[in-house]
Every structure is written in structure tokens, then in C-alpha cells.
């Protein structure tokens, strides 16, 4: 019991991090796209739990609403609307697969060896400063809003133009002339 109270958050972190990674691998390897999409949902939800563990409740809820909800529904719609059985399989990158695997393994090794035993220092966002606005206690969503609409206002607005361009681009490339 003592062990659990002392290491509970760390255990939860490793459990859900492993789930997020494992289901992300399944997304790529599953042959049935419906299973792939559902694995993606598991991955999204596990990441949401990681956000909760870091006291970022607002981001966690947004992750579930936007990714788990909206984006997943879109994916499932697309999978249902296009008839996947009529697409024939093309092996596109078969030639470069060994090289790709080699580079991937090397990169993973580089990161693992670099980060083993490295202390990352104290977390930049402690629970206190995620719920306080100018020293006053507030909610997590309020703290996010203060950052988003004040300090990070410019990137936030540029992101809206960015999304407009993405929408216009999808229409241009998808439209029949």
C-alpha cells in the first residue's frame, strides 16, 4: 500500500505511456482499417490520461473532445464511405524498407542512449502555476486562456489563418473542375 501511494503516479504514467505507444504501433500494423482507427482512439485516450497526470486538465479534456470525439468520428466516416475492398494493394516503399528500418533503429538507439540517466530538472509547469493567474488562484482553463489570449495571442491568430488555408486547400484539391 505504501509502495502504491509513493509510486502511484509514476506507475500510472508508465502504464498509459506504454498503452499510448503500443496502440500507436497497432494503428500502423493492423490490416483492417477499422481496427486501426479504434487503436488510434485508445492512443488518444491514453495521451489524455498522461495530460491529467500532469495536472493539465483543460488540455486533457480537449484531447478527449476534439481528438477522441470529433476527429475519430471523421476517420470512421471516411473509412465507411470509401470502399476499401476495391482498392488494390500497392507495395510502395518495399525497396527502401531495410534502410528505413536501419535508420529508425539507429534513431531510437540515439535517443534512448542520450536520455538514459539524464535528469530533466524540475518540471517547468508545476501544478500551482497551471491554476494561477497573476498569483491569484483560478481554474486550469482560465490559466490556459490567459496564456493563449495574451502572451501567445499572435501564434494563436496565425494558427487561425493557417486553418483557413488548410480548409481552402482541401476544397481546391478535392473539387471536381
Amino acid at each position: 500500500m505504501e509502495f502504491l501511494t509513493a509510486h502511484g503516479p509514476a506507475l500510472l504514467f508508465y502504464l498509459f505511456a506504454a498503452m499510448a505507444l503500443g496502440s500507436a504501433v497497432l494503428v500502423v500494423t493492423m490490416r483492417n482499417p477499422m481496427y486501426g482507427a479504434l487503436s488510434l482512439l485508445v492512443s488518444f485516450l491514453s495521451v489524455a490520461v498522461l495530460f491529467f497526470l500532469r495536472n493539465a486538465e483543460f488540455v486533457a479534456v480537449v484531447q478527449i473532445f476534439v481528438y477522441g470525439g470529433g476527429i475519430m468520428v471523421l476517420f470512421l466516416f471516411v473509412i465507411m464511405l470509401i470502399n476499401l475492398h476495391r482498392l488494390h494493394e500497392v507495395r510502395m516503399f518495399a525497396q527502401s524498407a531495410p534502410l528505413g528500418i536501419l535508420v529508425g533503429v539507429l534513431l531510437v538507439a540515439l535517443f534512448v542512449f542520450s536520455f538514459v540517466g539524464v535528469g530533466f530538472g524540475p518540471a517547468l509547469a508545476t501544478p500551482e502555476n497551471m491554476v494561477s493567474v497573476e498569483g491569484q488562484a483560478a481554474g486550469n482553463s482560465e490559466a490556459v486562456a490567459w496564456l493563449l489570449y495574451r502572451q501567445y495571442l499572435l501564434p494563436f491568430e496565425v494558427a487561425s489563418v493557417f486553418l483557413l488555408v488548410a480548409m481552402v486547400g482541401a476544397v481546391i484539391l478535392g473539387r471536381r473542375n
Partner: protein, 491 residues
């Protein structure tokens, strides 16, 4: 964290205006139902007018500053450096629109969205070169990149254009991910994204011991992302296919505007954000500059397609510009500004010539299609010769002056071997540029050789670029003075 004063938004007026102009163009473009003719002409005139007015606003609100001013809670900086790039980028976007004349109309594609996307991409570039926080730089870079992906695939009935857009998108997204990952590691190590404080925070993190690994991986990944955007070997693989497949005016846009904006950001991040790591990035840049110059020029030797040759040439030229970047001296820095400004006119002119000879389905792009051009279109052939000489670096052109100052800055700063590689590879490049000049002046045209398009506006643009290229070779003084007045503080 105080509220943002209204004045900051007023100072941002040029960027806001350009974004709004893009949106207005989208709305106006959706009213016209015909795909060619007058609607097209109207859209291009409006786009040029929007760019000119943005330029006026930049002059009025953001110019003439001795001391940099940081606004919008540290996201955006107004200094002479950003001012120089903004004017250059607006000129580059205007040249692109001039080159697009008739080109989009002939393909039967709708003009409104095409010009709107160019305006959005330019907005992203203006925000980029003024970005003073890694987050605002990154999102502006993405705005530019996303618009460029769509523009590269604008000829969606052509398989090559779609292929170009797809390759550009997939590799661009990958490189953005790498860049962002590097940024996140740097943030993890330092707790700041602002360029002003990043360098000091990096030195603290490295001194603390464990931070070393985070900082090293972080800046390497960040640099990789930036090198991808400026198309430096070994991050260049996307360039030839994208340059060949994209509509030629867009190829020109990528080669001049996109590249200049990315270089502007690269220099700002290296000089201001990563100042603490100067010797490290100098060596990395020197190594990449060397392989880029060698590989770019060698690969260009074997090309049969003029657009592909120009793509490899643009890779090689990114290598030459890196020479100026790595010196970390004032001479090197203004040489970079001068070279990229000259390169803008040279490359726009060269691609303009390609546009004039091009036919549907990418005909008219091989070396043979240029045979006997001197007899069929003497003016066009002479202009193209000027651009090719400038790309090689032969006087009296802007390309020659630019290269001389780049190499001189490198020698002065003690990077003699990089300058030597630059001179030697320039000699190699003479071979493939001369190949095209020989085709134009010494070979005879076959019956199947295409006639150049008759388009007075385009021809005038190409002529203007040729005149400026020669003028920059004969009277480089004013532009050099301008560049010298627009420097960043040295790292």
C-alpha cells in the same frame, strides 16, 4: 503578463492587411464563373495592388528603426533586418504573380484561390522574418509551407504536379515535426522560447550538466528542420521532383521567396537564439555547405531538363549562401543579404524564360527545346544568357559581385577551405550553364522545337530582371549600403 496595447496591433497592420486581402480575394474569386480571361487579369492586378499596399504599410509603420522594437509580448520584432527581408519578399511575390500571367488561365484553373494562396504564403513569410519567439516563427513557417504545398499541386490534372505536392507535403510535414521536436527539447532544457533570452538560458542549462544532452539534441534537430526548408544536402531530396512538378511560377516562388524567408529565419535563429553555440553550428554549417556545393553542382551536370537543372542549381546556391552564414561576421551577413536579393531577380528571370517556352504537359523543358533560340527570339535568349552567367558568377552581373563578397567574407573570417570549394564548384557549374548557352546560340532549331509564347507582360518581367541583374553587377553600391544597414547583432 499585461494586456497587449492597441499600438502593437497597429504596428502589425501590414501583415493583417495582407491576410485580409487574401481572404477578400477568396470571396471575390468565388463570384467569377469563368476560368480564364478577364477574371484572371483582374485577380492578378488586385494581388499586385495588395502586395504594393502592404509594402507601403511596411515602409510607413515598420521602417526606419535604429533600435529593434519587440511587440506583442515578445512574439514579434521590428528591426532593420526584418524590414529588408519584408521588402525583398514582397518583390519576390510580385515577380511570381507577373510570371503567372496567362499560365494559370491556359491550364483552365481558377485564379482566385491561386492568388489568394500566394498572398497567404507571403503573409506567413512576413510574420516569419519578424518572429522573435520559436513558437511564432514555427507557426508562420507552417502557414507559408502549407500554402506552398497546395500551390505545388495546383495543376491537379497533371500527375507530376500532384506528385510534387504529395512529396513536398509528406517530407515537409516530417521536417516540421523534427523542427518542433527540437524546439520542445530546447524548451525542456531552458524553459524559454524567446530568442532574446534563449542563448543565455542555453549556457545556464549546459553549465548545469544534465542539460547538455537536451541542448545538443535540441539544437541539432532544430537546425535539421531549418536546413530542410532551405534545401541543403542531405536534406534536399524533395527539391528536384517538387521543382519540376510544380507549376513553373510556383517553382520560382519556392526558389526565391520561400528560400529567402527560410534563410532569414535560419540566420536569425542561429545568430540570436543559438549565439551561445556559435562554434558548433559554424562547423555543422561549413560541413553541409561543402557537400551541398559539391553534390548540387555535380548532380546538375547530368540533367536533361532545364527545370531540373535549375533545381539542382538552387540547391548549390543554398550552399554558397551558407558560406556567408557560417562566417558569423558583419561582412558575411551583408553578403548573404546581397546575394539572396540578387538571386531573387536572377532566378525569377530564369524561370520566367522557362515559362515562356513551356507548353502544356511540361513540353518545352529539355535542353533541345532551347536550340536556336538566339535566332528565333534574340531578346529572350540574351536575357537567359545574362541569368546563366549570373548564376555561374561571371561579371558584369549581380551573381558575380555576390559570390565575390561571400568568398571574401569567408577568407577574411578564416574559412579559406570553404571558399576554395566554392570557387572550384563554381567552375564546375560553368559546364552545365554553358551547355544551355551553346544550345541557344550555336545549335539550329528543329521543326519540332516549340516557338516561345507571345506574352508582352512576361517578356517585360524577364527583361526587367535581366536589367536589374546587370545593374547589380555594375553598380552594387546602393544595395550593399542597404544590406549593411540591415544587420543583426553578431553572435
Amino acid at each position: 503578463m499585461t494586456a497587449i496595447p492597441i499600438r502593437d496591433f497597429l504596428l502589425l497592420a501590414p501583415e493583417i492587411f495582407l491576410a485580409v486581402a487574401g481572404m477578400a480575394m477568396l470571396v471575390a474569386g468565388s463570384y467569377g464563373r469563368d476560368n480564364g480571361g478577364n477574371g484572371h487579369r483582374g485577380c492578378s492586378v488586385c494581388a499586385v495592388a495588395a502586395l504594393a499596399m502592404t509594402g507601403g504599410l511596411v515602409f510607413w509603420l515598420q521602417g526606419g528603426r535604429e533600435v529593434p522594437e519587440v511587440i506583442l509580448s515578445g512574439m514579434f520584432v521590428l528591426d532593420g533586418y526584418a524590414f529588408f527581408w519584408k521588402i525583398l519578399l514582397l518583390i519576390a511575390a510580385t515577380l511570381t504573380i507577373f510570371l503567372s500571367e496567362r499560365f494559370v488561365a491556359e491550364g483552365g484553373y481558377r485564379p482566385g484561390e491561386y492568388y489568394a494562396l500566394i498572398l497567404f504564403a507571403t503573409t506567413g513569410m512576413l510574420l516569419m522574418v519578424s518572429g522573435f519567439n520559436l513558437l511564432s516563427i514555427w507557426i508562420s513557417l507552417e502557414l507559408m509551407a502549407l500554402s506552398s504545398y497546395i500551390l505545388a499541386g495546383y495543376f491537379k490534372h497533371q500527375l507530376k504536379s500532384t506528385e510534387a505536392a504529395l512529396k513536398y507535403f509528406v517530407l515537409g510535414a516530417l521536417s516540421s515535426g523534427i523542427l518542433l521536436y527540437g524546439v520542445s527539447l530546447l524548451y525542456g532544457a531552458t524553459g524559454t522560447l524567446e530568442l532574446a533570452g534563449l542563448s543565455d538560458a542555453l549556457s545556464l542549462a549546459v553549465a548545469a550538466g544534465d542539460g547538455q544532452v537536451l541542448v545538443a539534441l535540441g539544437w541539432l534537430l532544430l537546425a535539421m528542420g531549418l536546413f530542410f526548408k532551405v534545401a541543403v544536402v542531405p536534406f534536399h531530396v524533395w527539391t528536384p521532383d517538387v521543382y519540376v512538378g510544380a507549376p513553373t511560377p510556383i517553382t520560382s516562388f519556392l526558389a526565391i521567396a520561400s528560400k529567402a524567408a527560410s534563410f532569414a529565419v535560419l540566420v536569425r535563429i542561429f545568430y540570436q537564439g543559438l549565439a551561445f553555440l556559435t562554434p558548433d553550428w559554424q562547423w555543422l554549417t561549413a560541413a553541409l555547405a561543402t557537400i551541398t556545393m559539391i553534390w548540387g553542382n555535380l548532380a546538375a551536370l547530368t540533367q536533361k531538363n532545364v527545370k531540373r537543372m535549375l533545381a539542382y542549381s538552387s540547391i548549390a546556391h543554398a550552399g554558397y549562401v551558407l558560406i556567408g552564414v557560417l562566417t558569423a561576421t558583419e561582412d558575411g551577413q551583408w553578403a548573404v543579404l546581397f546575394y539572396l536579393a540578387a538571386y531573387t531577380f536572377i532566378t525569377a528571370g530564369a524561370f520566367g524564360t522557362v515559362v515562356l517556352l513551356e507548353r502544356r504537359a511540361y513540353a518545352g523543358e529539355t535542353y533541345e527545346d532551347y536550340a536556336g533560340l538566339a535566332r528565333r527570339a534574340p531578346f529572350l535568349a540574351a536575357s537567359m544568357m545574362i541569368f546563366l552567367l549570373a548564376l555561374t558568377g561571371i561579371p558584369p552581373t549581380g551573381g558575380f559581385v555576390g559570390k565575390i563578397y561571400l568568398f571574401a567574407a569567408a577568407v577574411e573570417a578564416g574559412w579559406v577551405w570553404v571558399a576554395v570549394v566554392g570557387v572550384l564548384t563554381s567552375a564546375i557549374s560553368l559546364y552545365y550553364y554553358m551547355g544551355l548557352i551553346v544550345q541557344m546560340y550555336l545549335k539550329d532549331a528543329e521543326d519540332t522545337t516549340p516557338e516561345p509564347l507571345y506574352a508582352p507582360g512576361l517578356l517585360a518581367t524577364v527583361g526587367l530582371c535581366a536589367v536589374i541583374t546587370v545593374l547589380l553587377g555594375l553598380l552594387p553600391g546602393p544595395l550593399i549600403e542597404l544590406a549593411k544597414g540591415s544587420l543583426l547583432p553578431l553572435p
